[in-house]
Symmetry: C2
Subunit: 249 residues, 2 copies
DNA sequence: CGGTAACTGTGTATGTCATACACGAAACTG
DNA sequence: CAGTTTCGTGTATGACATACACAGTTACCG
């Protein structure tokens, strides 16, 4: 079964991602294409959330039957992978800025956070597989570039990048959840009020102080939406700088 | 509708979590209780993954009909919240170790990571709501204790704790996914082999080097399963130490 | 003590979803 | 032109969450 040109066969799903799926030459002309399906799915996800993305819904959007999608995509999961990859198409234009590893890495981290913000449904993705999609690897490539010349070994670099990008995802998710809780529910949830209601002074002395000091309050609109992300990021960058310093002879 | 003793009514779901749901006194004795349902659901999740936890499956496990569960739990989502909370019951016994903030925080972080490892299905949780469950707040309480005396303000402390605990979750998830990819698929996925197949030297010079240097290889069994987590943690602890140092007068 | 209201467990039904399967039409290949 | 693919589609299946109504059960009230 091994192709002469392919030593390793890509696992199902990845072949499509990397444009290596065989295309048949017989039969009727396809009236549809993968990109159109993915684009329609992304539109739906952006407008109504990832939960609204069902095969039937996407099919309606492109004007075909539900089952026709399966001629282009083997799975719903595969479609999700394609969406995830397509959402990061902007990487191709991204350029690192700055002279030091710290500034370069910061620009990388912010770009990643902003990319997620632009397609916020990403935070609801099952995210089952390790990142082997083209754009994920592109991000890693650029990230490695940012860390070039730091003296860190490759394993450490990869872990640093994993640390930052996973945190970008988690931060986006928490921001999204907080926003959902504020706006969507029948009664908008007041985080601080609940905290005060529930945290008794004897059982939670520290939290009780925090809850009543106002430190747990929402910053309110108008501020920098990425303020918390920046804070976390600088902490991690400080830690990374220590690591780099230590690796230097 | 406001109770005289409750200034704020807890949103649905949280009342049960905090043991504040009204219990009726009439009617037949309940043949079941929430704890048994949650315990059964956790057993299933541990044995077969969170996806195997359906209302029907849980009901069968406790020997009742599917619909009977809804007498104790309003939602499947509520059940998931209860599982999540119950999985962290060990917090109650947890004690910080160490004299410095760094060692205390490290012990806290490791305990959290290990707690997730003990109930690995947690990584598959939708995690829709901000952490307001009793055990989540307990973790935060102990974490604040670890940071006591550092001179950080409450907001910074909360963000630090959020950073660490979110990373514990992400790390567990990636470890779990990697393990799934290795063992579960029809063909076990060889991450390095795929990387080498897909990463061309011209387009991905940095990654190409990493892929062929062996730095992306799996460490193999026998080693410390938390080695990567420890690495990331120390980086973050270094950054936190810088932050603390800076906050000092 | 009898009525009533609240509560329990259950069976049935509905709607959503992913997806298997088979069929007829279309287009390329030899 | 005959055979082989491939396309778009209709239909069917099996999970799943959950609404709803019913009958039996228990506690409280007058």
């Amino acid at each position: 079964m091994a192709e002469p040109d392919d030593q390793t066969v890509l696992p199902p799903g990845l072949d499509l991602l990397w444009g290596r799926r065989e295309v048949g030459r017989r039969g009727p002309k396809p009236g549809l294409n993968v990109d159109a399906i993915v684009a329609a799915a992304i539109d739906i996800a952006n407008a109504e959330g990832l939960a609204a993305v069902s095969m039937a819904r996407v099919a309606k959007a492109v004007g075909f039957t539900t089952m026709s999608l399966y001629r282009y995509v083997t799975n719903k999961d595969e479609l999700l992978q394609l969406m995830w990859n397509a959402s990061a198409d902007g990487v191709m234009e991204f350029e690192l800025v700055g002279d030091t590893a710290r500034t370069r890495l910061r620009s990388w981290a912010m770009a990643q956070r902003e990319a997620i913000a632009r397609n916020i449904w990403i935070v609801q993705m099952p995210m089952a597989t390790p990142p082997l999609a083209p754009n994920s690897l592109r991000w890693m490539e650029v990230g490695l570039e940012a860390l070039d010349g730091t003296g860190l070994d490759d394993g450490d670099k990869m872990r640093i990048l994993g640390l930052i990008s996973s945190h970008a995802l988690i931060d986006a998710r928490m921001a999204y959840d907080a926003q959902q809780a504020m706006g969507a529910g029948a009664t908008p949830v007041d985080y601080t009020a609940i905290l005060r209601e529930v945290v008794e002074e004897e059982r939670f002395p520290q939290l009780h102080r925090v809850a009543w000091s106002g430190a747990a309050d929402d910053p309110g609109p108008g501020g920098d939406p990425f303020a918390e992300y920046r804070f976390d990021l600088e902490v991690m960058l400080d830690g990374i700088e220590v690591l780099i310093e230590r690796a230097r002879p």
